[in-house]
């Protein structure tokens, strides 16, 4: 398993929901934009968390990529959100 997480900075608008779902892997800068701190995913649990974060991102900026670099966010829907995404 060589999944990686990436944040598309052209889409990120600083909702910071990824940081709620997967705080270990995402740092927020001073404006709230996410920056990937640990990109390589090495456990099933982290993969689940990453996919949850990807599904929760309102801009589709948070992506999980497979071994060949293609986007593979999984089909999982986000668990019920405790925060409401800003519109």
């Amino acid at each position: 398993m060589t999944a990686q997480i990436r944040i598309d900075p052209t889409l990120c608008r600083g909702h910071a929901i990824c940081a709620l779902f997967f705080s270990d892997a995402v740092d927020l800068d001073q404006w709230g934009f996410g920056k990937v701190a640990v990109s390589v995913i090495d456990s099933e649990r982290d993969l689940r968390r990453a996919r949850r974060a990807a599904a929760a991102c309102p801009n589709g900026a948070f992506v999980v990529t497979g071994a060949d670099g293609s986007v593979d966010n999984g089909a999982r829907r986000p668990r019920r959100l405790r925060v409401r995404a800003a519109r």
Partner: protein
């Protein structure tokens, strides 16, 4: 038939160098450092007499260079590998690897020759396209052969003075030749700095806006059109047309071990002829390059690699060879080959502040880091230059630069950070003086670098010209 190598004597340095146009010369030939201007017989790309406003005609081009040898795709790919031709647009990525990635990806690749040369002070691609259009077209045709396609897009900025007309005339001239050329098309896009970045060019040519793309897969494997997209700088492909004629070993021998082949540089700033393009071969030092332009004393500092480049103190720069390894040893990349000279008596902090403000205005406005970060970095640089900064301000600026680094979709914010870091490093004494509140010694020095006004246009339909 055997061809006797012709030996020429360097007119300035009195160094003998084997004429490099002859085929079959082995790698044993070591080349003395040489710097050639347009029309200098020691050059390769720039050899031959200066051409008029229409560029060198096909007849004169073929008389000097003869027809391209008949090569198939595997032959051209072998040339690319053997010569280790590196990209000359700034990134330095080997063209052979781009082509191989595209071939492995499958599907019909797209080939774009990037002649947009966003760097406002750089003139090498403009000079090549307007003076030696057939060298660029020959090289582009060869890359098309390597990729097995019959279509080439040449992308340029819309700016006034861009060599679109020369290239169009050259393409018309080539029609009806015996060697089959690919179908040529010219694409002209917005003049903005980031619009010349390779993914922005690929996106524009594929029908989108001229803004850089966030990619998880290399463009050469899958571009924005869904097809593998190979983008190569105009100088890079021009070199390939020379490699095909003189052989990869002889061509590589004209450079150094780390930087194969000759390289084009543009001079700007406090030089005798700003915008002059020179061809550097062998381990020529920055001092030798600047001496070719008539500079006899070491300048205060040199900005290497472009506006978003790295500063070097004049004393350090003077003895540094213009090769990838030697520059890397002092923390510099050759970039697009721009050498900007800062004279004694001018303020490096002021010049950097002007450049950072320009670069901040030339971002694509897509990523938070450029939208929020770069204008604040430009503010900080201006405060530092104006002497209204305290020590804490510099620490804050450094922290901000750390945040900005690596968080954009393209390399634009990273390049600004690199410039700022090298400024704080190289002009350390000036920083201390500015922080102490003393008036800048160079407060009334006229601007050294010609930094243009930021270009507002970036969309497809915005045709505002760069004035």
């Amino acid at each position: 038939m055997t061809v006797q190598p012709e030996v020429r004597v360097h007119p300035r340095r009195g160094v003998a160098r084997v004429d490099s146009l002859l085929p079959g010369l082995g790698p044993q030939i070591t080349v003395e450092a040489a710097v050639a201007g347009l029309g200098d017989p020691l050059g390769l790309l720039l050899s031959g007499p200066p051409a008029g406003p229409d560029g060198e005609g096909l007849e004169s081009h073929l008389a000097r260079w003869s027809e391209l040898p008949p090569l198939d795709g595997a032959g051209v790919r072998a040339l690319l590998r053997a010569s280790a031709l590196d990209g000359r647009g700034g990134g330095g990525f080997p063209l052979a690897r781009k082509v191989e990635t595209a071939m492995l990806a499958g599907g019909r690749p797209v080939l774009i020759v990037n002649a947009s040369e966003s760097e406002p002070a750089s003139h090498k691609d403009r000079t090549l396209c307007s003076q030696r259009p057939h060298l660029v077209l020959d090289g582009a045709a060869l890359v098309a052969v390597a990729l097995g396609i019959d279509e080439v897009v040449i992308h340029l900025h819309r700016a006034l003075g861009s060599p679109v007309r020369v290239l169009e005339a050259a393409m018309a001239e080539r029609q009806g030749r015996s060697i089959a050329d690919p179908r040529w098309s010219i694409s002209t896009g917005p003049d903005r700095y980031v619009s010349g970045e390779s993914s922005a060019v690929a996106r524009y040519v594929a029908g989108g806006e001229a803004r850089p793309l966030f990619t998880t897969i290399p463009l050469a494997a899958e571009g924005p059109s869904g097809r593998p997209t190979v983008i190569s700088n105009a100088e890079t492909v021009a070199h390939l047309s020379v490699i095909a004629r003189m052989g990869p070993d002889a061509w590589s021998g004209l450079g150094t071990a780390s930087s194969p082949g000759p390289r084009l540089v543009t001079l700007t700033g406090a030089v005798n002829s700003p915008g002059r393009v020179l061809e550097v071969s062998g381990p020529a030092t920055l001092g030798e390059i600047l001496a070719t332009d008539g500079m006899s004393t070491r300048p205060a500092a040199v900005l290497v690699g472009g506006f978003a480049g790295t500063w070097l103190l004049g004393d350090d720069a003077w003895q540094t060879p213009f090769s990838r390894d030697a520059l890397a040893a002092v923390g510099v990349q050759p970039g697009c080959g721009l050498l900007g000279v800062l004279p004694h008596g001018a303020c490096g902090l002021t010049e950097t502040a002007r450049i950072v403000r320009y670069l901040a205005g030339e971002s694509a406005g897509q990523c938070g880091t450029c939208v929020a970060g770069l204008p604040r970095l430009a503010d900080s640089c201006e405060s530092l230059a104006a002497g209204t900064f305290r020590k804490r301000g510099v620490r804050k600026m450094s922290a901000l630069a750390d945040t900005v680094l690596g968080s954009g979709a393209c390399g634009h914010p990273d390049a600004v950070v690199r410039l700022i870091r090298s400024t704080l490093d190289v002009f350390e004494d000036d920083v201390v003086r500015h922080l102490a509140g003393h008036a800048c010694r160079a407060a009334d020095h006229p601007p050294v670098f010609a930094v243009p006004e930021p270009v507002l246009a970036i969309g497809r339909d915005d045709t505002r010209e760069w004035t």
